[in-house]
Amino acid sequence: MRIELRVNGRAYPLDVEPWEILLYVLRDRLRLTGTKYGCGDGECGACTVLLDGKPMNACLILACQAEGAEVLTVEGLVSAGGGLHRVQQAFADLGAVQCGYCTPGFIVSAKALLDQIPRPTRQQVKQGLAGNLCRCTGYKKIFEAVEAAILEGAR
């Protein structure tokens, strides 16, 4: 079936099967490999993307269901001039990345969190990111990076 996906501000006309999952269409057909496959069943958040500003697991969305929405992947956070989003910069500055596999998912979730709650408490950060799992860092630096991004946004 013919659909049009809007991803990171661009329109992509595609021919997809009804059963094709958005995660694989993004990665394999659109070559946007920032979004990761972690578990495939919505438990880890590595595949987090935004649809109309709301974080969702791309592994549990059919590509045809995403038609009509504005999809944002981690690639879409980089500005036209190549500048990193403040959340990305904070993760890099604070060393909140070890293997890096969970990182795109966390960054996309954190961006959505800060768009919804500009100055979250630590508890709100934890709750907002509860759908993203990290096996390396123990989360401490991830929360600190999100909090650093709050201060950056406040300046």
């Binding site: 009804p18 438990e43 958040g45 979730s109 509860a130 759908g131």
Partner: protein, 283 residues
Amino acid sequence: MGRLEYVRPAGLAPALDLLARHGGRTTIIAGGTDLLVQRDLRKVEGYLLDVGSIRELRGIAEEDGQIVIGASVTHAEVEASPLIRRHAPTLAAACAEVGGEQIQNRGTIGGNLANASPAADSVPPLYTLRARVILGSREGWREVPIPEFFLGPGRTVRRPTELVTAVRFPKAILRIAFFLKLGQRSAQTIAKASVALAAAVDSAGHLRDVRVSLGSVGPTVIDARGTAAFLEGKAPTKEVILEAGRILQGEARPIDDIRSTQEYRRELVRALLFKGFLPYLRG
């Protein structure tokens, strides 16, 4: 490989028409957070009916003293609704417990009902709200009190020609209300057991119109009538709640499974009831 045809109607009539003609070979998808985990759609034939955009199923309204939630309203939308926070705070709390943000932004109330997991978080609060599930078909409508909607794990009274269109419950003043769930983790977790309770309080401080339900400790959510009957008319003292916990233990029908054991779950429901009452204990 057979043919699967995806349809996403904007209105209810074409959806009900499709189900009337082809309900037996139609798979319904809303948020997809249960369906896409359970089934490989490459192996499914027939119609794939996406109900997520049907306008009549989207929205939360107040009508004649009732709150009506459209089946395609997401858990996130229920949680954020000022109407739900005011009149059904345990339902809002339960929707905030489903998975994490990502799941809550896709999963719907209708899907949570139709999927009929005994561990579904929204269901125990809906029992305490005395909710009714509304089923629509081309032939008309019917309402089913929620305890009659579920037949067993994954099974409901919905016929293949029917669609869960909404859930509704009367607005009520319930001064005591809680929903507590314990899972392996604090988020992204399926309940080992859950307890929902709602009650009014009379001028003497006694519990009235008590409703208690249990999740994850039976083939369906359990309407704990024995516990509710015991609590009716009593003051919420420590002794009363401890005794209620013993009765509640007896009403649970847990099994051993990958998440927990029968023995632990019986202890857990008692503990959750007591924990829920802690802010309200008297004497």
